[in-house]
């Protein structure tokens, strides 16, 4: 196979705020192959959601602006397309699923019309055909009694069912890439497992790529093939999922893994938190953003920004420390 489906290079997105210019996404580069699930993990303010929105140019401008970089999708740079060009891609070849299924659905339109809309817009199908396709899609998303639910409104659905509708909409035009931004954070745990299992199964089946934005390292472990860890707007480590959990190389990744509570293993082992507070993006230190919370930080870490460099095959980290003991 040739080039990967999606190649992001040096993506930088800045926002103008009351407290000055803020770099929310700073020189982010990664790739996604077809059939692959890539997880972007990070805590609030890490830049994971802004990265996702930047890919489809959904950043509100102003105050935001994609300053530089390339988003190469099937060989074309999405950042060079005109408005009509990017609109033709959104919801067609690249679909997005958001966190809040209630606010992403139009409360005044029936479920059928909303799921049929992308088919109408991108395929130009007449309503009757589009609604028939919508029924198929709702069935694939395992919505019971899909035919009769076409005329229902979003408020008649539970949170989990609404997220199934969002998945059906995302799949409408057989996208090559699905970007899911915290798709189950608002749902109960048992429903979260159902929705993510469904999403994973459907993307594997259609060989599309899935970019999963999440703060949950458990979700990443269960569903991701490759992981990108972000902190303070930058990628600090990336590796195949098993490799990352077995050999976390960046102090932040290590810290995160030690602070996650688990349902297995020894419960008497106390959690090891990462001391200090998350970074303030409007006042990032000149060096590594994690240096103030890092016990391996040296003088160099405080003055100079580490580059993302390979430590093993497909495993990169942005850290000056060679060995963490």
């Amino acid at each position: 196979m040739g080039a990967p489906l999606l190649q992001v290079r040096g993506l930088t997105t800045r926002f103008r705020t009351e407290r000055g210019e803020v770099t929310a996404v700073d020189q982010v580069s990664f790739e996604a192959d077809e059939g692959e699930t890539v997880a972007i993990v990070g805590e609030s303010g890490s830049g994971k959601s802004v990265t996702a929105l930047s890919l489809l140019r959904l950043i509100p401008t102003p105050p935001g602006r994609i300053e530089s970089g390339e988003v190469l999708f099937e060989g074309r740079n999405l950042l060079d397309l005109d408005d009509a060009g990017i609109r033709a891609i959104r919801g067609d070849k690249i679909a997005m699923i958001f966190q809040e299924p209630m606010s992403s659905l139009n409360p005044a339109l029936t479920i059928g019309m909303q799921v049929a809309e992308p088919v109408r817009v991108h395929r130009g199908s007449p309503w009757r055909e589009a609604l028939e396709r919508a029924r198929e899609l709702l069935e694939r998303a395992r919505i019971p009694d899909a035919g009769s639910r076409l005329t229902a409104y979003p408020h008649q659905f539970s949170g989990g069912m609404r997220q199934r509708v969002m998945i059906a909409m995302a799949l409408a035009c057989k996208p090559r890439l699905i970007i899911a931004d915290e798709p189950t954070t608002a749902l109960d745990v048992t429903v979260q497992a159902q929705i993510l299992d469904l999403l994973k199964e459907l993307t594997v089946e259609s060989r599309s790529a899935l970019i999963l934005i999440t703060h949950d390292l458990g979700v990443v472990a269960r569903y991701a093939d490759r992981v990108i860890v972000m902190y303070g707007g930058r990628v600090v480590e990336t590796a195949p999922a098993r490799r990352l959990y077995a050999h976390p190389s960046h102090p932040y990744t290590r810290g995160l893994l030690a602070s996650v509570p688990r349902v297995d293993g020894d419960a008497s082992v106390p959690l090891v938190p990462i001391e200090g507070q998350p970074p303030d993006l409007s006042a990032l230190p000149p060096g590594c953003a994690f240096a103030p919370r890092c016990r391996w930080a040296s003088e160099r870490c405080r003055s100079e920004r580490p580059e993302l460099l390979p430590v093993a095959d497909r495993h990169l980290k942005a850290c000056f420390a060679d060995e963490l003991d």
Binding site: D188, P261, V263
Partner: protein, 342 residues
Amino acid sequence: MNSTESTRAAAGADDTLLSVENLSVHFPVTSGVVMRKQVGSVKAVDGVSFTLARGETLGLVGESGCGKSTTGLAVIRMLQPTGGRIVFEGEDIAGHDANRMRRLRRRMQMVYQDPYGSLNPRMRVRDIVGEPLVIHGLDTDRDAYRARVAALLAMVGLLPDMAERYPHEFSGGQRQRIGIARALALEPSLIVCDEPVSALDVSIQAQVVNLFVELQKRMGLSYIFIAHDLAVVRHVSDRIAVMYLGRIVEIATRDDLYRNPLHPYTQALMSAVPVADPEVEARRVRMVVTGEVPSALNPPSGCRFHPRCPHATDVCKRVDPVLAGQGGVRAVACHLHPAERG
């Protein structure tokens, strides 16, 4: 089963701080605007019983609508229970009026989920943390009052000079510390923590979880720790009660529950929580349930979990299982696990 544990937890033992018996909280459902009439009731909490020892933490776990928060609020009488007994420090407080409760409020406090909504943005941290002292008339000596606020801030890992600042100047984790300092101000014996770390980032969550554990050791506090996340409660709780649609379906010590969950709902909840290790996840046998939690307005007949339960039999549809002892302090409400005999 550890025999000291079972005697300790037995109701009426000396160090029992709280004993809740058959607690119920029903909310009326009305219809009509002019001629309002009650057409039904939501049984948010429906016959819940448990005990809590001094210095112990009981985790209350379940999904939305299971009644865990309502139970917490009713126990400290921020909601009027419909029925049942709440025996706190030897006194049944279920029917106490506001005046009699005011005296007891010093003994029972609450920490909320939302670190942004639970602090008044126009008050300085000093006034937020000190407000309980003011309300209970303990602020007569200005110097002592200031020293007390400074000590409370130090206790939760904040600096004394932060007292002059406003909530917006703090991160989510620091705000939650302020909320904890406020809850500690009156030296309570019981703190009800309602999803106190759910809104926090993972690295900060662990800081706050450890703070709860440390404060408990130092001050002998008892917690009712409410959470939807089985992984978080595991690190703070001595015992855990799993709730589903207004009922406790299983209650057990921490290690019993996680090593060997008996109720199918507990098993499902446990499997739904992913473990942060791809190797473990790949090997794990998962129990997946279908559907979502049904409406509490019309709970299913028999066992409330039966429509989602892969092991449901005919008897589960008809007969409501009772929470029956499995020896020691463990109890399960499931027809698959009838009570031990003898």
